[in-house]
């Protein structure tokens, strides 16, 4: 992991970034053109067909920013590295970006657009609407959203907080589902 860093020379704080995210930048060819600053339109072009494309794009950009620089980009991608099984929490190092918790947190933030720490009914409805599109009626969406909240909402505040989100996904193999293979 710590061998030739030739491509990192062009990137500021390359070593520190590597430390933090564990990603090797030269792995993907596309990552080259991000060094100068990436605008949202470039990303949107790739994700035009994806139903939640604009949310993904939004995740890369800090609020108010127009471009994303390479370090932030890599930081986001670092969430999708495959988890290492032998990582132990020892409190000294900050939790690595690709731990299960951080992955879930990332996904949670995609739902929670207003960043209040909860997925409200309206937010859930929006996600469902995006995913299912015009094929379903509004009432169906509402009943699905209602049932989902009923199932997950344990403290009865009519919204899903992060812990409830995590609990409802405890049986799903997040490590497998949220990992892109080449980002080792």
């Amino acid at each position: 992991m710590g061998s030739s860093r030739s491509s990192l020379r062009g990137v500021p704080d390359g070593q520190q970034l590597l430390q933090e995210t564990g990603c090797e930048p030269e792995r993907s060819g596309r990552l080259g053109w991000f060094c100068l600053g990436l605008r949202s339109e470039d990303l949107e072009a790739e994700l035009s067909e994806n139903p939640i494309g604009d949310r993904i794009v939004g995740a890369f950009f800090q609020p108010g920013q127009e471009t994303v620089d390479f370090p932030s980009f890599v930081r986001v991608l670092a969430h999708f590295r495959p988890t290492e099984k032998n990582w132990t929490r020892d409190g000294v190092q900050p939790e690595p970006a690709n731990s299960r918790n951080r992955k879930l947190k990332f996904a949670f933030q995609l739902y929670d657009q207003d960043r209040d720490g909860k997925i409200s009914r309206t937010e859930l409805l929006q996600v469902l609407r995006e995913m299912l599109g015009l094929q379903v009626t509004e009432e169906q969406l509402q009943s699905i959203a209602e049932r989902a909240i009923q199932e997950a909402d344990l403290d009865r505040d009519d919204a899903i907080c992060f812990d409830e989100f995590r609990k409802s996904l405890e049986k799903v193999d997040i490590d497998h589902k949220m990992s892109v293979r080449f980002l080792e």
């Binding site: 993907s28 060819g29 596309r30 990552l31 990303l43 790739e46 994700l47 994806n50 139903p51 939640i52 494309g53 993904i56 991608l77 999708f80 495959p82 099984k85 996904a107 995609l110 739902y111 009914r121 996600v127 469902l128 995913m131 299912l132 599109g133 094929q135 379903v136 009626t137 009432e139 169906q140 509402q142 009943s143 699905i144 209602e146 049932r147 989902a148 009923q150 199932e151 997950a152 009865r156 009519d158 989100f165 409802s168 996904l169 049986k171 799903v172 193999d173 490590d175 497998h176 589902k177 949220m178 990992s179 892109v180 293979r181 080449f182 980002l183």
Partner: protein, 782 residues
């Protein structure tokens, strides 16, 4: 847990039932023996009869026979039925003795029974009819098991691990075959047993390799039989099971290859190359044939909306045709059957009625269950029949070599595979995979049809290996799994949350992969889904349902399950009174008339403290024990997944849904083909739950989309239901008094009252057949 506690009180009864079962078995076996000897007797009678036709005319006219025995005409069906009956009674018997079935896997017991029956038959007739002929096995007994496996194959884990499975199936089997074949040849050359009459050094290299290829294949029937009972986690199950299915192609090719070589006598490099090409043809050809028939079946099912009764028949026939067609061309029949089942399933399920779906499920499980039982019994019988050539050197070295080859193969392959996997296979996993490589009846049948001079010794060795793996490995794998603390299967149904989030994550990952320009797993899956949605679904799914997204279909399934459960448990309104706090009839009723837009903000649910909730959960669990006794996972023996695993949460949901029950049921009658509720709602609902005869044809209407219209005012029927139910049961009186002291008393008194109440609620009953987890796994989600 619960299943072990309950039989304590009933062990006396169980024991007597078991004795009854054994008695029946004994009677049956004796009957079988006498029947077969009778057959021998009558056949000899006929011979003598035909020997003197001339004298017959001259004898005086016999009086009209009032009672006679004419066994020959029905002999074949009679014997077949007798065997199947024996198998079924055996199954019945084993499950009445829970202690036995916990220790010994069913396959061992069945083989033992087969040995017993074979022994008895041999004594009675001095020769045993060769019941396990290869034709019966390959044409009648094997297809149901494979179809059952293929139709209910969990597609998602299978496809995710396809690389690993293929590596194990192809490379692992090849390695096993050559290793065992080669080394056994070496052993034969070296070892010379002076006392044995068989000259081992006669066995050439080719027969040895042939033998190796037969013995090296992991058998799906045996794997299924053993793994069903140990409930390991999904990943290991699908790895071993997938390997056992896919190695059929390798086995077929190797078998034919070596047989050809043995006939022709010489091997050249061209032949080896042709072998490789042949393998590709066999495997891919099998899959293509299966997929072709699968698409045909899906297309046919699009038009069956007026003849619902024969829908299951199409599924079975097309699958069987796929198998037979593949066998005609020497392609891999197993792979074609799997492909057919897996391809046709999503489309067929979208088209057929609910009852047809249930029928298919029940029939497949029934046939595969009986088949498996028969296979093991016949294996036992066939062991007794026929001469065996015992050669200790050969036998022990075969067994040892098989084990060693398997272990080395698994370890070596995992080392390579782990470099490419995201979730690595641990040592524990490798051990289970190696240990789970059981051989079974397929190896035996292939050995049976050999045309070699060494057939007898090979067959003996094959039987030895089968017995060893099934008995020793089969019996010890369960304690080993416990000892090594291997992760067990998750026993819960999918919630709508999981479904939503899983799809969300799919989209997310596809997006990320697009950004990185990396054409990974999700990218191709997305492309396939898009293609499927745009073209394939329009052709293969009838009517409006082709546009229904996967999530909606899943949601409707859940709702329907809820509705059925609610009806069969006698109405959820009684449960209102089990919650001792703010809920009362007055609270519920105005809600019915309030507009639905106000509903989201109000909640009819009581505010329970956590402790109270825990108590109630505990009480519900102990009382719903009956349903919990059924095994909760995908299992050959039972079909019912406990619907009340999270019984408490479901009860809450049920309450809310109760208001819309009547309305929804109207919409669903088109799918359920169930009579419309007429007259009193409660009575008609009770009728609907139990009635299986009264079908109402869907009529001229096309299958409509389900619209859950929350805006409609609640029908007065549901209000009446509440009133009726409340008036019917005087028991609701007792609870409100206890509810006032809810927070003060210890849970005991309330528990008793609630127990009383809950015992009156009818048990959901065996008809509540939920889909197993795997059923909900749609292969190509939108």
């Amino acid at each position: 847990m619960f299943s072990r506690m309950a039989p304590r009180g009933r062990s006396g009864l169980g024991r007597s039932l078991a004795e009854l079962g054994l008695l029946l078995l004994a009677i049956l076996v004796l009957l079988d023996g006498t029947v077969l000897s009778l057959e021998a007797a009558t056949s000899s009678e006929i011979d003598t009869h035909e020997g003197k036709p001339g004298t017959h005319k001259n004898t005086s006219k016999k009086s009209f026979p009032v009672l006679g025995i004419k066994y020959d005409d029905v002999s074949v069906p009679f014997e077949i039925s007798l065997w199947v009956l024996l198998a079924s009674l055996m199954k019945l018997g084993f499950h009445l003795i829970p202690r036995l079935s916990n220790v010994v896997p069913e396959s061992c017991l069945l083989i033992s029974v087969g040995l017993l029956v074979g022994g008895i038959l041999k004594l009675a007739r001095d020769e045993v009819p060769p019941v396990l002929s290869d034709r019966i096995f390959f044409l009648c007994l094997l297809p149901p098991i494979i179809l059952d496996a293929g139709y209910f194959l969990p597609i998602r884990p299978f496809v995710e691990n396809i690389g690993t499975i293929l590596m194990f199936a192809v490379v692992g089997t090849l390695w096993n075959a050559f290793f065992v074949g080669g080394l056994i040849y070496a052993v034969c050359q070296i070892a010379q047993d002076k006392y044995s009459e068989i000259d081992l050094s006669n066995i050439g290299i080719l027969p040895c390799l042939l033998f190796g290829s037969i013995i090296s294949a992991v058998d799906p029937v045996a794997v299924l039989a053993v793994f069903e009972e140990i409930h390991i986690n999904e990943l290991l199950h699908i790895l071993v099971f997938g390997e056992s299915l896919l190695n059929d192609a390798v086995t077929v090719v190797l078998y034919h290859l070596f047989e050809e070589f043995m006939e022709s006598g010489s091997v050249s490099a061209v032949d080896a190359l042709l072998g490789l090409v042949s393998f590709l043809i066999v495997a891919l050809g099998g899959v293509l044939v299966g997929a072709f028939y699968g698409i045909l079946a899906a297309f046919t099912s699009r038009f069956t909306s007026h003849t619902r009764v024969i829908e299951p028949l199409f599924v079975f026939l097309y699958s069987y045709m796929a198998y037979l067609s593949a066998e005609v061309f020497h392609l891999s029949g197993i792979m074609s059957l799997i492909a057919c089942g897996a391809v046709m399933r999503p489309y067929v399920e979208a088209n057929i009625s609910h009852k047809s779906h249930t029928t298919i499920k029940y029939f497949l499980k029934m046939w595969s269950s009986v088949s498996e039982t028969l296979i093991f019994i016949f294996l036992g019988v066939a062991t007794v029949e026929g001469e065996h050539h015992w050669n200790w050197v050969f036998l022990t070295s075969t067994v040892v070599l098989c084990l060693v080859a398997r272990v080395i193969g698994v370890v070596g392959l995992t080392f390579i595979i782990n470099k490419f996997r995201i979730v690595k296979l641990t040592t524990k996993d490798q051990f289970i995979i190696a240990y789970g490589g059981l051989r079974g009846a397929i190896a035996f049948s292939l050995g049976f049809i050999l045309h070699s001079e060494h057939k007898r010794i090979f067959l003996t060795a094959i039987i030895t290996v089968i017995f060893f793996t099934v008995f020793v490995q089969g019996m010890t794998i369960k304690p080993l799994v416990e000892l090594l603390a291997v992760k067990k299967k998750h026993e819960a149904k999918r919630s709508i949350n999981e479904e939503i989030h899983t799809r969300f994550l799919d989209h997310l990952l596809t997006g990320i992969e697009d950004i990185c320009g990396h054409y990974g797993h999700h990218h191709w899956k997305n492309k396939l889904n898009r293609f499927n949605k745009k073209y394939v679904k329009k052709i293969l799914i009838a009517g409006d349902r082709s546009k229904e997204p996967q999530l909606i279909a899943f949601y409707h399934k859940l709702e329907m399950k809820n509705a059925i459960q609610m009806v069969e448990s006698g109405g959820g309104s009684k449960l209102n009174s089990t919650f001792p706090s703010t809920v009362s009839m007055q609270n519920i009723q105005p809600k019915i008339h309030s507009p639905p837009s106000a509903r989201p903000s109000e909640r009819a649910l009581p505010q329970l403290t956590k402790g109270r909730e825990e108590e109630i959960r505990q009480i519900l669990r102990t009382n719903l024990q009956k349903t919990r006794q059924r095994l909760q996972s995908y299992n050959r023996h039972t079909l019912v997944v406990d619907p009340d695993e999270e019984g408490f949460d479901d009860l809450i949901l049920k309450k809310r849904r109760m208001m819309e029950l009547d309305w929804k049921l109207k919409q669903m009658t088109n799918y359920l083909t169930v009579p419309r509720p007429q007259g009193s709602p409660t009575m008609s609902r009770a009728r609907m739950a139990s009635d299986s005869q009264a079908y109402v044809k869907p009529g001229a209407e096309n299958v409509p989309t389900i619209k859950i219209d929350l805006a409609s005012p609640q029908s007065p029927d549901s209000v009446r239901l509440l009133d009726e139910v409340v008036q019917d049961q005087g028991l609701t009186m007792s609870l409100p008094s206890s509810s006032s002291r809810a927070y003060k008393t210890s849970g005991k008194d309330d528990g008793r009252d609630q127990q009383k109440l809950l015992r009156c609620l009818s048990d959901p009953g065996p008809d509540v057949d939920d889909d197993e987890d795997y059923d909900d796994d749609e292969p190509v989600p939108t």
